[in-house]
Symmetry: C2
Amino acid sequence: MKPFFVGLLAAGAVSAAAQSLADVNVFLGTERMGHTFPGAVVPFGMVQLSPDTRLVPYALPNGSYNPDVYGYCAGYQYEDRTIYGFSHTHFSGTGHSDLGDFSMLPVKSGQSLLPGDGKDPATGYFETFDKQTETAEPGYYRVQLERSGTLAELSASTHAGFHRYTFPAADSASLLLDLVNGIYGYDGKVLWSSLRVENDTLITGYRHVSGWARDRYIYFAASFNQPIASYRHRKDDQTPYRGFYRRFKEFDNFPEMAGKSVRAEFTFAPNEVPLEVVFAISGVSTAGALANLRAEAKPFDAAKAEAQAQWLSELRKIEGTFLSGDDQTTFYTALYHSLIAPHVFQDVDGQYRGLDGNVHRAEGFTNLTVFSLWDTYRALHPWFNFFQPEHNRNAVLSMLAHGEQSVHQALPVWSHWANENWCMIGYHGVSVLADAAAKGMAGVDWDQALKLAVSSSSWRGYDGLGAYLDKGYVPEDVVGSSVSKTLEYAYDDWCVAELARRQTPYHNFYTGTDHPNIRLNKAYLKRSQAFKNTFDPQIHWARPRLSSGVYKAEFDLLSTHNQGFIEGNAWNYSFYVPHDVPGLIQVMGGEKIFVQRLDSLFTMELPDEAIAHTEDVTRDGILGNYVHGNEPSHHIPYLYNWTQDRSKTQFWVRTICRAMYGPETNGLCGNDDAGQMSAWYLFSALGFYPVTPGSATYELGSPSVKSATIALENGNLLRIETVKQSPKNVYVKEVLWNGQTIPSHSIYHQQLIQGGTLTFVMSSKPH
Amino acid sequence: MKPFFVGLLAAGAVSAAAQSLADVNVFLGTERMGHTFPGAVVPFGMVQLSPDTRLVPYALPNGSYNPDVYGYCAGYQYEDRTIYGFSHTHFSGTGHSDLGDFSMLPVKSGQSLLPGDGKDPATGYFETFDKQTETAEPGYYRVQLERSGTLAELSASTHAGFHRYTFPAADSASLLLDLVNGIYGYDGKVLWSSLRVENDTLITGYRHVSGWARDRYIYFAASFNQPIASYRHRKDDQTPYRGFYRRFKEFDNFPEMAGKSVRAEFTFAPNEVPLEVVFAISGVSTAGALANLRAEAKPFDAAKAEAQAQWLSELRKIEGTFLSGDDQTTFYTALYHSLIAPHVFQDVDGQYRGLDGNVHRAEGFTNLTVFSLWDTYRALHPWFNFFQPEHNRNAVLSMLAHGEQSVHQALPVWSHWANENWCMIGYHGVSVLADAAAKGMAGVDWDQALKLAVSSSSWRGYDGLGAYLDKGYVPEDVVGSSVSKTLEYAYDDWCVAELARRQTPYHNFYTGTDHPNIRLNKAYLKRSQAFKNTFDPQIHWARPRLSSGVYKAEFDLLSTHNQGFIEGNAWNYSFYVPHDVPGLIQVMGGEKIFVQRLDSLFTMELPDEAIAHTEDVTRDGILGNYVHGNEPSHHIPYLYNWTQDRSKTQFWVRTICRAMYGPETNGLCGNDDAGQMSAWYLFSALGFYPVTPGSATYELGSPSVKSATIALENGNLLRIETVKQSPKNVYVKEVLWNGQTIPSHSIYHQQLIQGGTLTFVMSSKPH
């Protein structure tokens, strides 16, 4: 693995009792597949202010998809030496790209307003930098820009980005605001943009863009600490300002700029004082952005201090000791990355843009966005139920609001900024609801939740669901990735059944009737057994079937492409029955073959061709045929818990923690996926994992921490202790809860959140 | 003149005591230059639902401006026999085009979703009709469509269009909603559009368009009286719905349609009952449109009855008797056309989109839009002060809100739908304010009004204003049409002076100081004398000057092009000093030459070349060199009142009423200009006219009515009576107010609105 970022490594002491910002490497995952960003953000902040190191057009000149787009989901790759601007919105770790709004860059005055090619300075304004000058901590990023000689510093609050630019002395300072640039940019991404110079220290504006999100509105209001001396803009589209010609000079010092390709330069007089910008955003209106600006504007140093205090407060909720500084950085950086999405998506007055395009007001909750649910229902939302239950309540209520605003009455699938992207498969919003219900979330209308879970899972037009309801499986000739869909629908249906069960009054013995929810529970329990319909009884593997009922003849257990699966192959997906592992063991042909197959999964030698086709992961993310860089396998190491070979769970969990995670820039073996990869690590490092979201049970694994004290939101303390913990002692001899041996392989959520001590007695040998 | 529309003529009885809808010919002005529309609207309604008879691209195939655009400002020309749809927004009588939103058309199911070329039915869905089947009244329009065999009927409420389509029996019915079509359409007008099928009888959506308005949002919610059986759409742009592919069928029965070129078809099962649609609009949101829909939805017949009751209520406020049925129709159609703009631009809850793009709530007034102020400050807003003072208060408060939302703190110039188009010249918003103040409008913050009048007239970047302030005239080498601008700025400045004067406490005799408004009044009075600086003392004509001070050498008194004037020539504009006619007479060289020139103006033989270059008017709109089809001359016939030859005012006013107005489809000699031409007629037909908006004085002319009783909004009745009125008795022997001879050539607003009888004793000879 590559050398760890030096400045942070030096500060990363083993066994530090109080955490510091140096425990986080914000560059972790910025290399290759992690898709994280190094810029400034506060926990769940709406602004993610970060450098964009390349502009990647969505399409190649021949019109086809540009494969480079994928690497720039967060706008940044660690090896780059160019910066096109600091933009205010970034996904963290996602597998699809978008955002990158409102790109600002300090430049020498009067040069080209085009970004340029990143090579020849004559082509545009792009900046270059020496990697040695780039440093970052949670809530703070800085870099020395070479072409303009400007020191750039960034910080953030919930709704605002904070910029400080120290220009070379005596130069007049210019700041570019490029309304065209964006992530997932392509010709025509900007449907419209507007920029108003309200007065000599205040500008407002917005973009209406069609990127990955079908169409998305983002507004801003930005304040400068120095008056604008003059400004200009260029516009490369042909939209005229019709009443305008012959009357004013449109492109110089005219305060109403608008069009599809507006790039503006603001020039400031030479000043000893660095230029500071507070740049607030809103999904509602420029008035909303202005209110956000008023609420959060402060000097740069104060903003930085506040942002970092917020991060410290989060980090200090877990006081851990570790076997190494690397483990410590890995752990706290995972914690950092788990606290970025879903993030606030409302103005300070509670107003937000809903999925229906209308402006709503969040009553009794904070509206959130960026729901990458196919990823995050697995461990991130369970992590929130454990570590950030109030945040998860906001997530649940935001999802319910989304469902109500949906014309399909469907919970989010992959949604951001008032858009549904329909990305990946299943309707896993129901899992988040069921998990919240299982873990006793208060303040939710569970009747509404159940109603939306039912409507989400009843929309026959959705992705093979009609056929699934008719046949008990998704036929591959109806829609691709059919086995993955059957398996995930089955799990989701179990979640709906659980939701119904948890709010079902008992059978009425006076009238002899069941509550309607009992019937719902039974119906969905039946649906949840559909996984059996996709297992070929001849070979005991999940296998695509056709509408006729026959299994698809051509079938490659190892290939991930066109075999009925997505982000996985038959080996990976056949273990995907998180809600009924005993039933899975049965359809696989019994425990012996189940264990044999698990063993093989982790140890088999995969053909190079199969590796080449594995999506979204680097070579480090593959362990035999087990693919940790993608999500469908995340629960698999824990499945040994249902067998006599529980120690293998312990071994593989520790192996994965060591091999697939690290503290360095390429420390993530696949996309962090909005925090799912990080949440897997956090749970596993603490010794337990939610194999079945929607149940209140955690499976016990093997902790990699030496100890940890977690300050729970309810005020209780949960202490994780280990005995004889060491890199070699990966096996667990015994687990004790408050000193009492736990006879089972699992522990209940309700136990843990009461506070207490969970002790793992470690050993170098399987127990 | 062409034959008057037969159905209405039959009903147009002379001297009807109670007015009927048949007194209005809604087709008046739909031929050639009038630019009115025949569709359904209620007084000041936000919806103007009317057929669009041609789709005129903004640009010709070679990219240059398409001159045909001009003829279709209201989407309709009387001679056309094709209909592309019934759209919900139309300007009335303007000289520039825009709008035409949400075009609907009943069609045979399953045909092309493209509009077609209007000739070959194979090219698209356009309809044809037999002119005999087209009839219309205020609030109601009907036509039999030939291709689909459907009877189409339209009505309107303030926020909604009402459609009733009677399809041929047994055919399944289809309804197109074309989100691409529009007036002033061109490639790329639609920045984005969206369409949601909320349920089987409700659709919502919006367009974000860049047409004449730089960018404009319009939303809708539409309800059907029958369930949608199925629907589909086509989209010709390249914006993908990215999460979507492989998952759903995007183009059939998928309820979230969006893109830059969406055309949708909704199919309904065969039904004996005609299809009814209530189509509500909003400038705020689909939620706003839905609230508007809920507030105003009703069956078609009820909507029609209510719309027509509203019109009757307005028409019956003036009980007139006339010399002919033609006069009666001309008068009541002018009244109808004076009650269309500026129209309501807010939702039922008072929310509206402001010039700053933000959503505001109108508190204490109704927000209005469509301010064609260079036209309407002259007679339309004075007409409102007389006949609709509450409406004018809404206009004034809407203009003040606009000014506050303006980044320039500028009152509207030519604004519509939250956009400023900067069309034509001057800052005549100040005239509307001054006229309202002069006529005692209550409920206005006059300090705010004065503040915005001053800021509007202080913006040096505006259209030569900086040079005007420096030199006392607009130099022609700085900006074109310089003489027109100098003259109009001078008048506007007098309006600001009047505004300041009306709220100026007296000089403080204790301190010896003036109130700041006294200084403002003096400064603006001085500015208002700038008209003298553009009169060449050698020739006594207004004449362009250069920055050096010298008058421009090449100078053609008759040409309207590049001579320093706009929509007029030196002859027309030299009479434009409405605020200081004695001063004008002086700079023109005295009353004798003044009268000679006025006489010549009306009687001279204009060279054909000069006529060909005269803008916006038909041949009928020119009387000698007097051009009634354009506004700069509208006050000129009344200028004889300042001379010994008042009878000539009487003669020419009657001549203009007869020659330039008529009851037929081409009854307007130029653009109605949002009601300005009609308001001129209304005043003149009643015998008085506001030569100097901003003063409380009307000049007396020669009425063309026999009598009229006007029910004023304050409850008083104003009676206009004539003695010996006849087509030949165009001269006024004596005018009496409540039986007392008026010694002057004018009468005060405050007199008239107290109610009483104004009697004109007519004669065939000058007095």
